[in-house]
C-alpha cells in the first residue's frame, strides 16, 4: 500500500464519512486496527488476514494504475454517446407541469406539518419534531411519469396507528381548503396524499431514542420507521455528495434501465444512487468522469461482479460498520443483476447504445440472442443454483448453532 500506486479507492470521501476500509487486511499497514468504523464491542477491523471474510476487490479499469492498461487505440469519440445520453435524460426528466404539481402538493402538506410543529397544542394525538423532504424529489432525480415526493415526519410521541390517522385527517382537512381532488390513504409507512397529478408519501417515524419502546401491534412497524429515518440520512448524504449533474443524470438513466430490464429491478434507488456516485466520482483524480465513460463504467462494474457475493461492493456511507449495500439483494437477484449488466455491456460495446437506452428496440436484448453488425451477442445465463443456497444456509445455521454452543 505504501507504494506509489493509488490504493484502490479507499481513501475516505472528502466531506463524507469514511466509506471504505482497506478490504485486503493483509498487513498492519492495511488492516490497521482500531475501531475504524466499527461500532463499540467489535474487535478491531481485523489483524492482517485474520478476519475470516476478506472481501474481494473487483477489477476496475478506472482505479487501476494507468500504466497497466493504457489504451492501444485512440479512445473513440464520446461526443455522440454523450449527446445521446443527455437526450435520453431530457426525455426522462419530469416536465415543468409535473414538477409544479408535485411541488405544489408537497408545499401544502409541508405547510400543514410546519403549522403543527409550531403550535403543538392544535393536535392532541401526536407531537411532531420535524419534517423533511427525502427521496428522489429532494435529490432532484425524479423520473417523468413518477410524480411522487417523499416526506418524513418525525414524531416526538410514539406513532400509534390512531395518531397517524388523526394526523392524516388533519392534513386532508387543510389540503381540501384549496385543492379539491385530494385523497388521503393510510399506508404501512404512514399515509399518502394524492392529488390528480401528484402524490406525496408521508413517512412517519419517531425519534431514534423511542424505537425501543415500539410495540408491533400498537404502533407503526419499527423496521419501516427505521428505513424512513435512513432515508433522511440518505438525503443528507446526497445533498453533500451527489450534486454533480453527471451523477443526477446517471441516476435517472439507471432508474430507467431498472424499469425496463427486469433483471435490474432488484437494485433499490439507494443502491442506484451509490452506484452512480461511485461510477462518476470514484477515481484516482477525484474529478467527475465524463458521462459516457461513467455510464459504461456502471455496466463494467456490475459485470465484473461488484455486486456479487464476496465482493467488496459499495459500503453504505450512512450505516455504521461495513454494510455492503448489495447484501440486501438475494443471491438470485445478485446473479440476475450481474447477468443483465453483462449482456448489456456487450450489446453496448457492439454498438447497441440506442437499444440499451430504450430509444429503439425492446428489452428483450437482455434475454435473447441478438446480432449487432454481424456479431452475435449471446445473453449471459444464470449460474446460481438453488442447492448451493441450501448448503450455504446449512453452513450458516450450523455456524450459528456452534457459536451459541460456544457462547453458552
Amino acid at each position: 500500500y505504501r507504494g506509489s500506486r493509488p490504493r484502490l479507492g479507499f481513501q475516505p470521501q472528502p466531506g463524507g464519512p469514511a466509506r471504505f476500509r482497506p478490504p485486503m487486511a493483509h498487513g498492519p499497514a492495511g488492516g490497521g486496527g482500531g475501531p475504524d468504523g466499527m461500532g463499540p464491542g467489535f474487535p478491531p477491523s481485523g489483524p492482517p488476514g485474520m478476519r475470516n471474510f476478506l472481501p474481494h476487490v473487483p477489477f476496475d479499469f478506472v482505479l487501476c494504475d494507468p500504466q497497466f492498461f493504457q489504451p492501444c487505440q485512440e479512445a473513440p469519440d464520446d461526443k455522440a454517446t454523450n449527446e445521446l445520453l443527455l437526450k435520453r435524460n431530457t426525455d426522462l426528466s419530469p416536465s415543468a407541469e409535473e414538477q409544479q404539481a408535485v411541488t405544489g402538493l408537497l408545499s401544502k402538506v409541508q405547510a400543514v406539518f410546519d403549522a403543527l410543529i409550531i403550535s403543538p397544542d392544535s393536535l392532541e394525538a401526536a407531537q411532531m419534531a420535524e419534517v423533511r423532504p427525502v427521496g428522489s424529489y429532494k435529490k432532484g432525480t425524479m423520473l417523468s411519469g413518477h410524480n411522487v415526493a417523499d416526506l418524513v415526519v418525525i414524531f416526538k410521541t410514539l406513532p400509534t396507528k390512531e395518531a397517524v390517522r388523526s394526523v392524516a385527517n388533519r392534513v386532508l382537512e387543510e389540503a381540501k381548503t384549496d385543492a379539491k381532488f385530494v385523497t388521503v390513504s393510510q399506508q404501512p409507512y404512514g399515509f399518502q396524499v394524492s392529488s390528480a397529478d401528484a402524490v406525496v408519501k408521508v413517512l412517519v417515524a419517531t425519534l431514534p431514542a423511542n424505537l425501543k419502546l415500539l410495540e408491533p401491534d400498537l404502533h407503526l412497524d419499527a423496521r419501516i420507521q427505521q428505513t424512513s429515518l435512513a432515508a433522511i440520512r440518505h438525503a443528507r448524504w446526497f445533498e453533500e455528495n451527489g450534486q454533480h449533474s453527471s451523477v443526477k443524470v446517471l441516476i435517472r438513466l439507471l432508474k430507467d434501465l431498472r424499469q425496463r430490464f427486469p433483471g435490474l429491478t432488484a437494485m433499490s434507488p439507494w443502491i442506484i444512487d451509490l452506484l452512480a456516485h461511485y461510477a462518476v466520482m470514484q477515481n484516482p483524480a477525484r474529478a467527475p468522469l465524463p458521462l459516457a465513460r461513467a455510464f459504461r463504467r456502471v455496466l463494467e462494474l456490475l459485470s465484473t461482479g461488484l455486486f456479487l457475493p464476496g465482493s467488496v461492493g459499495i459500503a453504505d456511507p450512512c450505516e455504521p460498520g461495513q454494510v455492503r449495500v448489495h447484501t440486501a439483494l438475494t443471491l438470485v437477484q445478485q446473479d440476475e443483476v450481474c447477468c443483465t449488466a453483462q449482456t448489456l455491456l456487450r450489446v453496448l460495446s457492439h454498438g447497441g447504445l440506442r437499444h440499451v437506452l430504450g430509444l429503439e428496440g425492446s428489452a428483450r436484448i437482455a434475454t435473447e440472442m441478438s446480432v449487432w453488425r454481424g456479431i452475435v451477442v449471446t445473453p449471459s445465463d444464470k449460474v446460481y443454483e438453488r442447492q448451493d443456497e441450501d448448503t450455504a444456509a446449512a453452513a450458516t445455521t450450523s455456524a450459528g448453532a456452534t457459536g451459541e454452543g460456544q457462547g453458552a
Partner: protein, 908 residues
Amino acid sequence: APQTAYQATASATGPTSFVPPAPAAPASFTAAAAASVVAAPYTYAAAPTAYPAAAAAAAAAAAAAYQQQQRPPPPPPPAAPQSGSGRVFQPAWTTTAPSYQSFTANTATPAVAKVAPPPPPPPPPLPPPKLAYQPPAASAGKQHQQFMPEGFGGGGGQNWFGQQAPGGFRQPHHHQQHQHRHQFGAGGYQQQQRRPPFRPGGPRRPYNQQQQQQKQPGQPNLASLQYCEVCKISCAGPQTFKEHLNGQKHKKREAAAKRQQEESAKPNQKQLRCELCDVTCTGADAYASHIRGSKHLKTAKLHTRLGKSLPSTDPIIVQGSVVTSAAGANQQQQQSQPAPKQQQPTPAVKQRVVGAPRFGFVPGSALKSVASDEAATPAAGPPQTADSGAASGQTAPASSATVEQQQQQQHVELAVLQEREYVAPVGSEYIDELPNEQGNKAVQYHCKLCDCRFNDPHAKEMHLKGRRHRLQYKRKVDPSLEIEVKSAMRANKLEFAQPIWGRRMDPARVNEWMQRHRSHFNVGSGVAARQRAVQTESIDDRHLAAKLATLAQAEPDRKALDALAARCEQALRQVSEQLSADGPEQQQQKQQLNGVMRIGSLAKDVTLFWDRQCELVLLCSAWPGRSLVKRLIELLPDQLCPPDSGQALLLTVQTASSGDSLLVSCSDGSLRCCISLTSVAVRDSDGADSQAQSDDLLDKEKCLEALANLRRAKWFQAKASQLESFVPVVKIVRDFRRRIPAWAALSEWAAELLIEKCISSYCAPSTPSEALRRVLECLASGLLLPGGPGLLDPCEKSTTDAAGALSAQEREDLTAAAHRAVRLMAFRQLHRLLDMQRLPAAAEHRRAGGAGVKRSAAAAAAADDGADAVSGSGDADAADASAPKQTRRNSCQDEADPEAAVEAADEQ
C-alpha cells in the same frame, strides 16, 4: 625479491605510477613507505637463505637501514616457554588455517608453527628449494593445462548458449574483457613459475633454521611467544593466549574468517587486500593507510620475529564473488573446444597484481582462477606424475615470454583502479593546526567542518578524502561537489524499487499484531481458531490446487523434454563452433550463430501434461537463409547423436513444413523440438535489401515472430516469473485455452500479458484464486471489447495490441465466457469452470482432516457464504422496491463477523 624490487622502482619512477600523478608529495611518500615496509622481508630474506636476491640487494639494504631507523626495537621477550602450549594452539590453527597446515606438511616443518621450547637441535639440512617446490609446480602445471581450454577455448560455452538463462546472448565487449582477465590469470601463474626463490607458500624454513636466524644478538627470546594465526597477534604467555582464544575478539574474527569462506568480496567492487594482516581495504588510500598503520607494522614485526615470511605489501586485488565449482569446471572442460572468439568471463576473478610470494593463500577464500589454483596446488599434497610434469614443462616456456608484458598490464590495471578511486582532497583550508596542549612539538589538526581532531598528518589526509568530510563539505561549502553513492545505498534503493506488493507478508508481523490486540480477541482459543482459519486456504484455492495437480506434467516427461532441449542446445553450440572454425573469414562472418534460447512453455516452466514439444530460437549474426537451414540439417545429426555416444534415443532432424525452421524429433515420435532461426539483422534491414535476396532468405514475418518470442521469453523471466500466483494462473488459463473454445482464440502471449497486468496492478499479494478471479474480471469488464483499452504490448516499440489478432466475434465470445466464469467463481462453482468434481466444503474438509476445529470452519463458511445471504438495508424510496426488508440492526450483525457477536456474548 626481484619482483618486489621491480615493483618498488616501477611505482616510484615508471609511467604507471603507484599513486595518480596529482599530488606529488603523497606519491613520493607512498613510495618511501612501501620501501620501508618491503624492507621487512628483505632483512629476513637476505641474511640466512641461499635465495638469490642479488638484483635487489642494494635497495634492500638501504630499505633495511631505513626501517631500522624508523622502528623502535622489538619489545622485550615474553615469559618463559610452556610445555604443552602447542596443544592449546593447535585447534585454532587447524580449523582456521588449513592452507597453512598443509603447506607445512609439504615443506617438512613441524605442524605446530608456534615456537617450541628452546633447545635448538643441530640444523637439519635445508631441503633444496627446487625439490620442495617442484612437485607442486608440476601439479600446478597440470591444473593450468586443464584450465587453459576453459579460459581460451571458449570454455564459457556452457553458459554461452544460455542453457538456462535467457540473457545468454553475448556482447562482443564481454569477450574482450574476459580475455584480459585470463591473460592476467595466466600471467600470475607464470610469474610464480619463473621465480624459484619464493615458494608459493612463502619461503618458510624449518623450525631450527628459524631459531638460528633469530638467535641473533639483540633478538628477543621468542620461545614463549604464543601466536594466534587468525588474529595475527602474539600473546605474552599461555594464559593470555588461552584467554585470547576464548575472547570475543578472537571468536568474532574466527567467525568472520569462516563467513568469508562462504561469501567473498562484494561483487562489482574491487578491493585491495593485505595478505599479511588479512585485511581488505576498499580503496588505494585506505590500503596505503593500513600499510602505514601501527597494526600492520606490528603484525609485520611479529611475523619477522616468528620467522614467518612476509608477503609483499603490494595489494592484491580482489573482485567478484562467484565461486566456480569444480564440477562446473569439469563439465566445461569436457564440452569446450578451442573457439577463441567465444569466451565467457569466468565469474571468479581474483588477480594478483604482482607475483610476490604469499603466505599460503587467502585463508578461507574459495575463489579460483588460474592463478589462485596454482597457488593452492602446492597444498594439495602428493607429487604429480611425470606426465603432468612434462605438461608443465611445455607450458612454462611458452607463457614465460609474455610475463613481462603481463606485469605491465597488471600495473596498468592497478593504476587505473587507483586513479578511478582517487579523490582530490577538498577543504584543506578548513583544517586548523593546533599546538599540542602538552606543549611539545607534535601538532593536532582540527577539521572545522566536521569538528574532529587528528594527531597524525596521514589521518588528516585520509579525512580530507573521506566520505564524511566530503559530505560535510558539500553541505556547508560547495554543493556542486560530487560524491559517489555508496554501493550499499544503491543496493538498498534497488531493493525498495521493487514493488512492495511483490513481497510476502511476514507471518511474524502478523503474530505481533495479534499479540498487541489480544484484548480484543478476548479468549486464546478464539485467537487460535482464527489463526487456523486463516492458515487454511480458501475452497477456491483448494480447487485450483487440485486442478493443477491433475494438469501437472509427470516429472519423467518434463525431464525428457528438458533433456531434449539441452541436447539440441549443445548440438547447436557445437555446430556453431564447426561453422566458425571452418570456412573462410567472410563465410564465417556470415554464418555465425550467436546464441540459442528456449521459448515457449518449457522456458517459462509452465509445461502441462500434454506438452510434447519444446521450442528454441537460434539467433544468427546475419539474416538466416535456406542454405543455412540445409547446412544445419547436415551438421546437426552428427552432433545430436554422435555414433559413439551410445544415446538410446535416435533423433531425426528435418525442416518444418514451411521450410523455415528445424524440427528435431525423437525416433519414437514422442517429443519434438522446434528450432526457428532468426537474426537481429532482420529487424534492422530495410525493405529493398530483403527484396534483393529474398529467394534464399527465410520469411521475414517468421523471423520477426521468433525475435518477438525471444523478447517475450526475456520479459517473462524479468517481470512475470517472480509475481506471486502468476505461474499457477498461467497454467490454469492454458487449460482453459485448450478446453474451452472461446478461450482458444486468445494467444499464449496475450494470456500471459493479461495475467501479468492483472496481478501486478493489484494492490496486495494475491492467492491463485484471487488472481484468477481478477483476470476473469478484467476480461469481463470489457478489456477486449470494442471501446475497451486492449492489451498494450510492452515488447514492441510501436503501440501494439497483443490481442489484436482476435476477431470481433472471438472477442465477444471470450468476454461472454469470462462473464460466466466470473459469476461461477463468485457463486462458489469454480469446479464447474475447471471441469472437475466439487471438493468438500471447508468444514467437511477439516473434519476429514481430523483437525476438528468445527467452530472456526463453520464460521469461515458462514462468513464466506452467509455474509452474502439475505440481509437488508432500508430506504424510503425502497418502499416501492420489492426486496425483502430487515432491520438495519440485523443487517449489521449479519455483516459483521459472526464470531464477533459470539465473543461479545462471552464478555457479557
